[in-house]
Symmetry: C2
Subunit: 449 residues, 2 copies
Amino acid sequence: MTDPFVIVGGDAAGMSAASKAKREDPDREVVVFEKGDWVSYAACGMPYYVKGEVDDLEDLVAVTPEEFREERDVDLRTGHEVVAIDPEAKTVTVDADGERFDQPYGDLLIATGARAVEPPFEGFDLEGVFTLRSMDEADAIEDFVDEQEPRTAAIVGGGYVGVEMAEALVERGIDVSVFEMLPRILQPFGEATASTVADHLREQGVDLHLETAVEGFGGVDRVETVQLEDDAVSADLVVVGVGVAPNVELAEEAGIDLGPTGAIATDEYGRTNYEDVFAAGDCAEEDHVVTGEPDHVPLALTANRAGRAIGTTVAGDPTPTGGTAGTAIVKAFDLGAARTGILEDDRAREAGFDPVSVTIDAATRPHYYPGATELTVTLVADGESGRVLGASVVGEEGVKRIDTVATAVHAELTVAELRNLDLAYAPPFSPVWDPILTAAKVLEGNVDG
Amino acid sequence: MTDPFVIVGGDAAGMSAASKAKREDPDREVVVFEKGDWVSYAACGMPYYVKGEVDDLEDLVAVTPEEFREERDVDLRTGHEVVAIDPEAKTVTVDADGERFDQPYGDLLIATGARAVEPPFEGFDLEGVFTLRSMDEADAIEDFVDEQEPRTAAIVGGGYVGVEMAEALVERGIDVSVFEMLPRILQPFGEATASTVADHLREQGVDLHLETAVEGFGGVDRVETVQLEDDAVSADLVVVGVGVAPNVELAEEAGIDLGPTGAIATDEYGRTNYEDVFAAGDCAEEDHVVTGEPDHVPLALTANRAGRAIGTTVAGDPTPTGGTAGTAIVKAFDLGAARTGILEDDRAREAGFDPVSVTIDAATRPHYYPGATELTVTLVADGESGRVLGASVVGEEGVKRIDTVATAVHAELTVAELRNLDLAYAPPFSPVWDPILTAAKVLEGNVDG
């Protein structure tokens, strides 16, 4: 009998792999070690729990531990921490309930996720200072807002978490300040989208501080202020969201290679440098579909997709994990913002492209049809070949149109091919030329040949 | 000096070509002959004028005749009917104001559009019986509803026009019956979408008669009844929308070849069998991007795109018209329905494919996020190669997702490639696996290899 398929970490990548492996090969034993209690939860839903739109934290759990155990026949062991991997002996060492034991594996998936980056801010341990990465942290923030009724909140970092938490906390009646070190928020979304969202945050009453470094937090026991270089701002609650770092220590100590991004290096099947050791999700790299280079995009779909592919591969049907286009979407009050592919000139040049781009404003419906709003589309292509490299869109509705460009990016379409796509038109849904097509029409003039 | 670029017909294809040719080659004379008064109008918006959502019929005009003449320097002549083409002499014969003259051309675009099919129904000439193809007809229906206050309306044909007019007339407080000869409405949208829309029409109070042939209309001067085989139904107003026929007589008489669909045959640049005679829009064929065979899809984007490409070609930069994927979208009260590519088994088989398909229901957002609705997705692929052939979606929101599949169809992606697309996810916009990806995951199991 083959040794079991062992999975370290019970969130999106791990549980997708477990479920898929069991479905494809029901006789294979699948063991998942999760050091915490929560499995298969939607971390992306946590801001909406704090906001009050999701009633119960348990609602964010897609599949419960009982369902995994009883319906999917997965040997899921919560409260079990893997403390070492021996890829030569093909065992993992597990701590649980004060005991330690070795578990042999036939195939291993490392799905240890990522953790919130915690810069060395003074006062990080004060009460009222949080990061938002785990379900327990979401619970703690929600409890704090309920019980302490903070009047002011500071959010450090203007990425997804920062923007979503600004909306959530304003909705809870709190005065919110956001501090971002860089000249713009939502860095990966490009200048046009970032500045549109920034203006909108300010319209919603968010006090947005760009190019502003936070030095630490002040207060006695409980946080009272955010310390800037030459100023201090009042804050009864602080959420630090300055990015995530992959949990790679376990892999690194086992001699598993990390890649250039610092996450675990994998091939197109999610394999590490050991044939029977896979890595997926927020701890692992994926090849970028535009550059072909390893990238680290710790997002939910990437994790689910890679986990599912690895489950299929382990069950005997080798399946590529699919790579990443870096597609992302975020809600900021009444706006949606989305991006895909390569938007940054320097990244495009590094990958050997000669980027050209346009930013256009277009209505989401014909002028005569009620309710049209404006969509701003930035489209980037290689000036020589015309290949579509990426896009960003922002507006009150219709930002899922980014999927059209994501598909074009995957398929390596040119701007001329994108412009000629037969997309859906009727007045309640779109102008004749969809805003994506309009952007392609304009950009085409900047492409050679 | 080159003879002018002459265009027959002043709607989407014709005016797109005129504008683009002038922009690319401002010195070239561009003459448009339009036999009516309306140019460059959004026929797709007419049902919403009748519904009362568009205040003024003029609102449907994208660019006015004055703007074409004064700002775009197009020699636009309304009230001018082209009655003959001589492709050897390179002239067209024009009737205007009781005079007849010959106009030489360097390049010619035939953009004569299509007309409503009028079956030989008895009583078609009764007052209160309409088709809906021209702006004047939209005006006449709106006037009739305003002035005659019909209490009952019959719509003959369950295609786009039928469905959109059902919504418009119900909104006007009229009891609406729809008669469709075939076993389902929205024939090109496939069974799952058609039956969902049919149920919804009935919920909205529309009296839907499937597999019901209309034999004629009864009444004295004004329509009073719709005659069925063995029944008569009361109707104060009738709208016949049983399809359109391309206006090809002018071309045919000039020796210009028609294609297998009965519309004007064209090559990938929109050229007819005469080097300097082009055809575009509702009177012309386009190659289907899946089958590679000529098709006749009289829709607005196809016309605009082909017109624009031909304008570019005539100005000296040969540009393919792009073909059609048959993408379409329609609103039916609270539902949207959309389709792309090849959905019909027999069409797929004729084109050499071995079609497999699935229909799935998926939520538009995660279960925990407020406002999720159900989307039904039908996805069709070639069972051997896995190539994506087409899709249909129906639901209360998010049906523009059809564009993802339209893009995949154009790019000749396989189901496995579609499943691996990095589409945008965040709880306010989508579940982790977008409904399109879920359909691809399920369909993948039915594909060989």
